[in-house]
């Protein structure tokens, strides 16, 4: 947020040396270092953090990546890998003394094996492009992060991306079979297999969600699933958040795993309806969208049961999509939630915590209290089925202290997530954004174990250093500030 990384002065001699070394085996237009050429890479989707990289490398083959890594390893230059730069936690924030390794040119779908239901792709292939290429075979790639038209598979693996459908179909980690990668030393490693498991430790799981800190991905084999025969969505409105939360629990308790189960609070519903006119009622406390997919008979049966539960839990309005276009219209609202909120506020800050489902109503109440405390509005959008919440804090960066208040508000939401037994990030990653909150979620011994994992892959700490896992020194510093701030505020209030 406000903590823009301090700009590192460019070491011109080192910049020239590294660029020259890379240009020895890459064409000049693939190695950038002039200020105006590297400026576009200064941030990812979390634009509050910016840092111009020393050098940008744009390889177009695994061999070039290998030589870049060997060169950087030999010269002890840190490397930050980047896909489409759509990440929301600053995971691809460059380093002022490092090489920004863009994998955007590696965008070939190498193979679609329709009968084995797998696709082998380069890391720069866009998420949606995989599904589009598989469509001819009646297959698709299940993880569908909201940025799927732009985000890349390599980035998805690095962040273990989710999406609306991961409740039923899993996260990236459940949909990847094999990763081919290069270590910082330039050694080729393969994790996973063309089967459903591999010999040795499950390094495929370790690589997924590792935020580019363990190895650089050069090829990914993903699972493809058959297109569902049909899909229908139930839209239900509630006059009370508590009741909507109970309906979510009721659906799961009935043994239903919907393809998607999303929730929006009043602020989000209102913003969305004014923006896309999806047909949502605007005078309700919460809205649920529950999608069923599968074979016709299964969907008919499930939709009927979902309707019954919604009604039993006190929905004041229930509508079931009667056509695919109506289904898409219902979803259009949910999918436009972020831009819709962007329309009603100069700026917004998207959070990403996960909580146990049963605490949804309570957490929403506490967020409402925080809105009053910080004098800021917050619109809430949830992947309710798996308890993943995206509070959107509305603020105006041009007002002197709003950014600071927003940051403090966000930090309290994350700590609330930890307090109720959840986590500070469900799908956006830690990056630089939530690195301080890692100190709250994990004790020193666990953080040390994470550092040891990194050292097992990258002894010298050259791949994406400073992201995802805080140093113990940083946590000690954060802890002091944190306690200090806590002592200043409401020192007389009892805490329990």
């Amino acid at each position: 947020m406000s903590t823009v990384i301090e700009s590192v002065p460019v070491d011109f001699a080192r910049q020239r040396d590294v660029a020259a070394a890379l240009r020895a085996f890459m064409p000049p237009e693939s190695v950038l270092f002039e200020r105006e050429d590297v400026q576009p890479y200064e941030c990812d989707g979390l634009s509050a953090y910016r840092q111009v990289p020393m050098v940008v490398a744009l390889p177009d083959s695994e061999e070039q990546i290998q030589r870049i890594l060997q060169t950087c390893h030999a010269k002890r230059v840190p490397v930050v890998a980047r896909g489409a730069g759509t990440g929301l936690s600053g995971g691809a924030l460059p380093l002022g003394n490092g090489v920004l390794l863009s994998l955007a040119k590696l965008m070939q779908i190498l193979e679609i094996d329709a009968s084995a239901r797998i696709a082998r792709v380069q890391p720069g292939v866009r998420n949606l492009a995989v599904t589009q290429a598989a469509a001819a075979y009646g297959l698709y790639y299940a993880p569908d992060p909201s940025s799927q038209i732009a985000c890349t598979i390599g980035g998805n693996v690095a962040e273990n991306s989710g999406g609306v459908h991961c409740l039923k179909y899993g996260l990236t980690v459940h949909n990847v079979l094999r990763i081919r990668a290069l270590t910082i030393e330039g050694e080729i490693v393969e994790f996973g297999s063309d089967g459903l498991d591999a010999a040795g430790y499950d390094l495929l799981a370790l690589m997924t969600g590792s935020e580019g800190m363990l190895a650089v991905i050069t090829e990914v084999t993903v699972k493809l699933l058959p297109d569902p025969e049909c899909a229908q969505v139930v839209m239900a409105a509630f006059d009370d958040v508590e009741k909507a939360g109970a309906a979510v629990a009721g659906i799961i308790a009935a043994g239903i795993i919907p393809a998607g189960l999303e929730m929006m609070d009043q602020a989000a519903t209102l913003a969305v309806e004014q923006f896309v006119h999806a047909g949502y009622p605007t005078d309700v406390a919460a809205m649920l969208l529950c999608e069923s997919d599968g074979v016709q008979e299964e969907v008919v049966d499930e939709v009927r049961r979902v309707e019954e539960i919604m009604e039993a839990k006190g929905a004041i309005l229930i509508r079931v999509s009667q056509s695919d276009s109506e289904r898409l219209k219902f979803w259009a609202g949910r999918k436009a939630a972020f831009p819709a909120v962007g329309r009603i506020s100069p700026d917004y800050y998207c959070m990403d915590g996960t909580i146990p489902r049963k605490r949804i109503a309570e957490v929403l109440r506490r967020i409402a209290e925080l809105e009053r405390k910080y004098g800021l509005r917050c619109a809430n959008v949830f992947h309710a089925g798996d308890g993943n919440l995206h509070p959107l804090i509305l603020y105006d960066a041009n007002k002197p202290d709003e950014l600071e208040r927003t940051e403090a508000f966000g930090s309290e939401i994350l700590q609330l997530c930890i307090e109720v037994g959840g986590t500070i990030t469900g799908e956006h990653g830690i990056g630089v954004e939530k690195i301080n909150q890692m100190c709250v979620q994990f004790p020193a011994a666990e953080l040390e174990a994470f550092h040891a994992v990194k050292r097992a892959f990258d002894e010298d700490g050259l791949l994406n250093p400073g992201k995802a896992v805080p140093t113990l020194a940083r946590c000690a510093e954060f802890g002091r500030r944190h306690v200090h701030a806590g002592q200043e505020k409401f020192p007389d209030l009892p805490r329990f």
Binding site: S115, A116, R117, I118, Y137, L139, N160, L167, L171, V173, T183, V189, S193, D194, G195, L196, D197, A198, A199, Y201, D202, L203, A205, L206, T208, G209, L214, P226, A249, I252, A253, G255, G294, V295, Q296, E297, D301, T354, P356, R357, K358, H383, D386, G387, N388, G421, G422, I424, T425, G426, H428, I430, Q441, A445, L447, A449, F450, V453, A456, A468
Partner: protein, 352 residues
């Protein structure tokens, strides 16, 4: 219960100080699996019991020594299950052993493996440090996914204390179809069916018969049955349990058993010996005292790996050897979680 954890941690620290290998064991039902057993026994059975379970959260937290039978019974009463259908190989099987072995049953290709359902672990590392990774929520990308790393690590990186695991609803109806096919045709059909939106949750080819299990809402199962044809068998549930527990005749008469995990479309393997095919073709069992290098070459050729699952001469190595670059990472991970090299030494690879 904390006193038991303290005792276990103390035992690990003592062993570390003396450089004495420890052999972590739950119910001992999978003693046959992995490299030769060595070290002093360190048992988990005292640390047992369900810590937390709320069916609407789809999460169960239990101590490592909890018996799978106890978990199955509790979940069953609540209309839920461990969806990866772990093989027990005996009533004494524990959750800790189940996750450490990382084995999954017939539903694996359809809902995921043991590692896919693990949400968090509490464990003791080789220094006796009490560590927690992951949690009890479905989506969690804070820190490296160390809890999934523990699934299938055979206790070589730490002793599991508690595991939180995702549960799923039991299917509302199930039936099993049988059709006569040779292996080649069965492999083709399994893969063709898997590419269609059908409610299939298990497949198996055994003795020239192809079996497929259909699960879900009753009308959906009925409709799929019409599409697929074949004869419905009477004791479907029992059949899949026997496949999972390796109690069908195929396994009973197999002193040496290989497991090949390969690309699902691979044609019937030209290896001598009887074969049983599962997981839409991605898991092949080979009952033969075959030449290890030949089996491993065939598995590698098919994009996968082979395990000397049961019996045979373990000196050839139980698991497929790793490429040097990959082995280096394994060795370093082992050294960081178990710096004194005392935990289940030799169970995964002979040199650590």
């Amino acid at each position: 219960m904390q006193d038991i954890v303290d005792q276990l941690a103390h035992a690990i620290r003592e062993a570390a100080a003396r450089r004495t290998p420890l052999r972590i064991r739950g119910g001992g039902t999978k003693d046959f699996y992995g490299g030769p057993l060595q070290g002093e026994l360190l048992e988990t059975h005292a640390y047992s019991g369900i810590v937390d379970y709320d069916p609407t959260e789809l999460v169960l937290v239990a101590r490592a020594g909890t018996r799978l039978t106890e978990i199955d019974a509790l979940l069953g009463r609540n209309g839920q299950m461990l969806s990866f259908e772990p093989p027990h190989f005996g009533d004494a099987a524990t959750l800790g052993g189940c996750i450490a072995a990382g084995l999954s049953g017939p539903r694996r290709p359809h809902v995921g493996a043991a590692r896919d359902l693990v949400l968090g672990v509490r464990m003791l590392d080789g220094n006796g440090a009490d560590l927690r990774f992951g949690g009890q929520v479905m989506k969690n990308v804070a820190g490296y996914d160390v809890s999934r790393l523990m699934a299938g690590a055979l206790g070589t990186l730490g002793m599991l204390l508690e595991i939180s695991i995702k549960t799923l609803p039991l299917p509302r109806t199930a039936l099993t179809l049988r059709r006569e096919h040779d292996a080649a045709h069965a492999i083709e059909l399994m893969n063709a069916w898997a590419a269609k939106p059908l409610p299939i949750t298990a497949t198996c080819h055994l003795d020239n018969q192809l079996y497929a299990r259909l699960e879900g809402a009753e009308p959906a199962v009925r409709a799929a049955r019409e599409k697929l044809g074949g004869e419905e068998i009477a004791d479907g549930g029992e059949f899949w349990a026997r496949v999972r527990e390796q109690r069908v005749d195929f396994f009973e008469g197999a002193p040496v058993l290989w497991r090949l995990s390969i690309k699902s479309t691979t044609a019937a393997l030209p290896l001598a010996g009887r074969q049983l095919i599962e997981w839409n073709g991605a898991q092949r069992w080979l009952a033969a005292d075959a030449d290890a290098s030949q089996v491993r070459a065939a598995a590698a050729q098919a994009g996968g790996h082979a395990t000397l699952f049961r019996g045979g001469d373990k000196r050839v190595g139980v698991f497929q050897p790793l490429a040097p670059s990959l082995f280096k990472i394994h060795r370093r991970l082992k050294e960081s979680f178990d710096p004194h090299g005392i935990l289940n030494v030799g169970r995964l690879y002979s040199n650590f």
